[in-house]
């Protein structure tokens, strides 16, 4: 089990429209990437925590929350936690903005799995 982190550059800040999710494949993981209205960028796995699955990228963004597009679950983009009355978690990935370019870090273990 190697434990190295992989960093992917996924585009420039302008590449992401405010409150409109984008789908980005990073190695084996499909991400939904959101730019909130305060300019922050969040990356979560594009995998709906609902038992029926599906994507997240097309949801409605409000503050740091996402209302999922299929079942209207409310998800905190910072922690990936699904809000009551539903529960579940979405995997989140650290995002760094370096000048203009947006980078996401994936853990090596995750890439193996």
């Amino acid at each position: 089990m190697e434990n190295t982190n992989h960093e992917y550059t996924i585009g420039t800040v302008q590449h992401f429209l405010p409150q409109i999710g984008r789908v980005i494949g990073c190695g084996p993981v499909e991400l939904a990437v959101f730019k909130t209205s305060d300019g922050q960028i969040f990356a979560v796995e594009n995998k709906n925590p609902h038992p029926k699955g599906g994507p997240l990228a097309e949801g409605i963004v409000s503050g740091h929350y996402l209302y999922d597009p299929l079942y209207d679950w409310k998800i905190d983009l910072r922690s990936g936690e699904v809000q009551a009355p539903d529960n579940g978690t979405v995997a989140t990935f650290p995002v760094t903005v370096d000048g203009d370019s947006v980078k996401v870090t994936l853990q090596g273990t995750l890439i193996q799995s």
């Binding site: 992917y8 550059t9 996924i10 585009g11 992401f16 429209l17 405010p18 409150q19 409109i20 984008r22 789908v23 980005i24 494949g25 990073c26 190695g27 499909e30 209205s37 029926k52 699955g53 599906g54 994507p55 097309e58 949801g59 409605i60 963004v61 409000s62 503050g63 209302y67 597009p69 299929l70 209207d72 409310k74 009551a84 009355p85 539903d86």
Partner: protein, 809 residues
């Protein structure tokens, strides 16, 4: 070293007391809590005892808080222990086993006892009340051993006990002092119907009989009445009433009338000592139902936690009988006097009865028998002192023009529903989950249930049933809740928001939410699309549509499926296509590996399962206009064959359907909008279930509005008849624009017509030519602004790539 916490002692381990403790824990109250209960059980749902007796539930089923709950919350529980005194001097409560526990605050919640008639023989073996699990056990045991039982008291509890004993195989006679059963809740008519129904179910009655003596040696063997007649019975249940259990309060020197006297914050005459539930007397009233207990508990919990609270001002009570298959309800005043206006409907064949009493046109009371679907609604109307109007009349008396108006489950009694039955099909919420949510949290509104369980949150179709469950659990229904806004982010209604947008010239959702002080600054998935729609409706030419405020389907101009693929539906105006178009659809479907080609109910084709990144290419190669199958907009105009080919056709329905679809396509509405045009009254295109349905006849058209074939089926109302095509178009335009300007977001015309009233819509549009022409002109102006979204997206590379592209790194 943590701060010494205040010591709170609860005397009485029942629903009222423990309900209060649960509220205190929720509010984060920092108390060391000790609870004393005389019964050997943890807290159980006393209301459900009738079901235990009936055999439909076990004791385990009705436990509300098991011992683990007390442990989890660090509560010291003493069951089987009775407190005998509160000693104000030493600040201690003293139990019958000599135990003394110091307190800072005490809550008395000792409930009430069965009132045992003080007649000779009432202490004999085989005479019980019907109040707790022990009584229930005695009744279950008696049923195994003895055959004949008498239940003294024809009130709510007596009848439930009698029915339970009948179910257990006993021969049961209800002895009642008066000529009418449940005379404190029902009028004579409902009482007679109830007696007839229970007689049918095997209960016998001895009416107008006063019990003078219980006969027998050690054990009871019969009753002797004051008129000298006798009744044989080897088991007697006393259900003549309850008596607040005030002994402890009296012995401790606390003021007691019928119950323990409290003020509006549930404080007794002794400082630091409070009282809730059936043992309590507030403003001269002792309550024997559960809803007031929850209401009292909420106020007391807030008071003890130092949270702001309105004082408790008493409760409006209502009654429902918990006997499977017998539906009785009453609220407020139920006996006619000369000053009442009485509305009543009695149906001896269906065995239903409905009576509503008005005083100065205000609804002051109601009685229902046999069909209690309107109980929650009537309860609310009585509580709020609502004035009777035509709308309310047709709603509660069921004389409206609509077919059902209820949900699919209407008419089904929630009592009869099994615990595990799914109430909310969208979110898989069972009846039990809702009942538990209400009892455990003291909920009194559907919104609270929605937030906790998810029921009613998706399609809303189960709301009437959820309301009935609430009613059934509480026996009394909804608190006046704070004015509900369009969603949890605001307390403003749709009309207020629209008025503010116009008055203040607000231009974007951000501005609306900021200026109108939304609780969640950027709104939620409910209000963002709604406000975006209202802005577009108010400023058709200048509002910049906000993609980020659109639901996924409208944002993408395609319908998302559960696996994240999309469905593409091109227009087929009036449900008519050509071989060339079909060929192109087939070629594109093959090329992009469309999973299913499905014929829709709206006479067009669904291309299901297009990969997200292929959607724009499919549009481009189809080169057809969007069918808006994803939108709150005109979907399709369904047509029959009509006069072009049909032997019976009197009008060209295909032509008119295509014309209307071309005219009104692409415009945003509050909700999806469906139409149909028929060439003759055979109505092959089903106008009766469309938002606007049009039926041709020899000499013109008839227009129907407000039909729906979906979640709440409704047959459309006849709106008007017109002679020419021009008039038809003008009427359609005016109806649509009036709906666009007055409809709540997501409100279909079936609901809108009922809310506005058909006559009002007719008078606005048909009796006022100027108004009609202005509405038509406004919709034409809005229509002039729209363009095809697929074409637009193909030209806008930034948006298209953001929405549809999947980059791989």
């Amino acid at each position: 070293m943590r701060m010494e916490r205040q010591k709170l002692v609860l005397i009485g381990n029942g629903m009222a007391g423990v309900g209060t403790i649960e509220q205190i824990l929720k509010l984060g109250g920092a108390y060391d809590i000790t609870i004393f209960g005389s019964e050997p059980h943890p807290n159980y749902n006393r209301i459900m005892l009738s079901y235990v007796l009936e055999g439909s539930k076990s004791i385990e089923d009705i436990i509300l808080n098991d011992r683990q709950w007390y442990a989890d919350n660090n509560i010291t529980l003493h069951t089987g222990t009775t407190v005998v005194k509160i000693d104000e001097e030493s600040r201690q409560v003293i139990a019958d086993n000599g135990q003394a526990v110091p307190y800072d605050k005490v809550i008395i919640a000792t409930g009430s006892n069965s009132f045992i008639l003080p007649v000779p023989g009432s202490t004999k073996e085989g005479v019980v009340g019907f109040r707790d699990i022990a009584d229930c056990d005695a009744m279950l045991a008696a049923a195994k051993q003895y055959r004949t039982a008498a239940v003294i008291g024809g009130g709510l509890l007596g009848l439930e006990a009698a029915k339970g004993l009948v179910n257990l195989g006993m021969d049961v006679t209800v002895v009642h002092l008066l000529e009418d059963l449940m005379e404190r809740q029902l009028d004579h008519t409902a009482s007679s119907m109830l007696q007839a129904e229970l007689t049918r179910q095997g209960v016998k009655f001895a009416m107008g009989k006063q019990t003078a003596e219980l006969t027998g040696d050690e054990r009871v063997n019969g009753l002797r009445f004051s008129d000298g007649t006798e009744l044989q019975a080897d088991f007697v249940v006393m259900a003549v009433g309850i008596k607040p259990n005030t002994q402890l309060a009296k012995d401790s020197g606390i003021t007691v009338n019928r119950g323990i006297v409290v003020d509006d914050y549930l404080q007794t005459s002794m400082e630091n000592v409070y009282s809730v539930g059936e043992c309590t007397e507030h403003r001269g009233t002792c309550y024997g139902l559960v809803a007031p207990l929850f209401e009292q508990g909420m106020v007391l919990a807030k008071h003890l936690c130092g949270a702001a609270t309105q004082p408790y001002e008493g409760s409006v009570v209502s009654t429902k009988l918990k006997i499977s298959g017998v539906d009785v309800f009453s609220a407020g005043e139920f006996t006619d006097t000369p000053e009442h206006t009485v509305i009543s409907a009695k149906d001896e064949w269906k065995r239903t009865y409905k009576k509503i009493l008005l005083k100065n046109n205000v609804i002051v009371g109601a009685v229902l028998f046999g069909d209690v679907t309107e109980s929650a609604n009537l309860q609310k109307l009585v509580k709020q002192g609502t004035e009777m109007t035509d709308e309310i009349y047709s709603e509660v008396m069921g004389t409206g023009c609509c077919g059902s108006g209820g949900s699919a489950k209407k008419g089904m009694s929630v009592e009869a529903m099994a615990d595990e039955e799914i109430v909310c099909g969208c979110n898989g919420v069972t009846k039990k989950a809702i009942v538990d949510a209400v009892t455990e949290n003291g909920f009194t509104t559907v919104d609270e249930i929605k937030a906790c369980t998810g029921a009613t949150r998706s399609c809303g179709g189960c709301k009437p049933v959820v309301e009935q469950i609430l009613q059934f659990v509480l026996g009394d229904s909804f608190k006046e809740s704070a004015k509900a806004g369009i969603c949890g982010c605001t307390s403003l209604s749709r009309d207020e928001i629209v008025a503010e947008i116009t008055a203040k010239g607000l231009k974007t959702t951000k501005e609306v939410m900021n200026v109108l002080e939304w609780k969640q600054p950027e709104g939620c998935s409910k209000c963002r699309p709604a406000v975006n729609y209202y802005l577009g409706m108010i400023y058709p030419d200048t509002h910049e549509d906000e993609k980020e405020s659109r639901f996924v389907n409208e944002r993408m101009s395609a319908n998302i499926q559960k696996d994240g693929t999309f469905t593409v539906v091109p227009r087929m105006y009036g449900g008519v296509t050509t071989p060339e178009d079909l060929k192109r659809i087939a070629d594109v479907s093959l090329k992009y590996d469309v999973k299913v080609v499905k014929v829709t109910g709206g006479q067009r084709l669904d291309l299901i399962g297009v990969k997200k990144e292929d959607v724009p290419k499919v549009w481009e190669e189809l080169d057809m206009p969007s069918g808006y199958a994803y939108a709150k907009s005109l979907r399709t105009v369904k047509t029959c064959v009509g006069s072009q080919f049909c032997r019976f056709g009197t009008q060209d329905s295909m032509g008119m359907g295509a014309l209307l679809e071309r005219k009104y396509e692409r415009l945003d509405f509050p909700a999806k909008f469906k139409m149909a045009v028929n060439g003759c009254p055979r109505n092959c295109a089903e106008s009766c279930t469309k938002d606007i349905g049009i039926v041709g006849n020899d000499g013109g058209w008839e227009v129907f509005i407000g039909g729906n074939g979906g979640i709440k089926p409704r047959i459309a109302d006849s709106f008007c008849k017109v002679k020419t095509d021009e008039e038809l178009i003008e009427v359609c335009s005016a109806v649509m624009q009036f709906y666009r300007e007055t409809g709540n977001y997501l409100e279909r015309t079936s609901e809108w017509v009922e809310r506005m009233g058909l006559e009002k819509i007719q008078s606005v549009i048909l009796n006022n030519e100027e108004n009609r022409k202005e509405l038509a002109a406004r919709i034409d102006f809005a229509l002039a602004q729209v363009s095809d979204p697929w074409e637009k997206m193909l030209k806008d590379e930034d948006t298209r790539s953001a929405l549809f592209e999947k980059a791989q790194h």
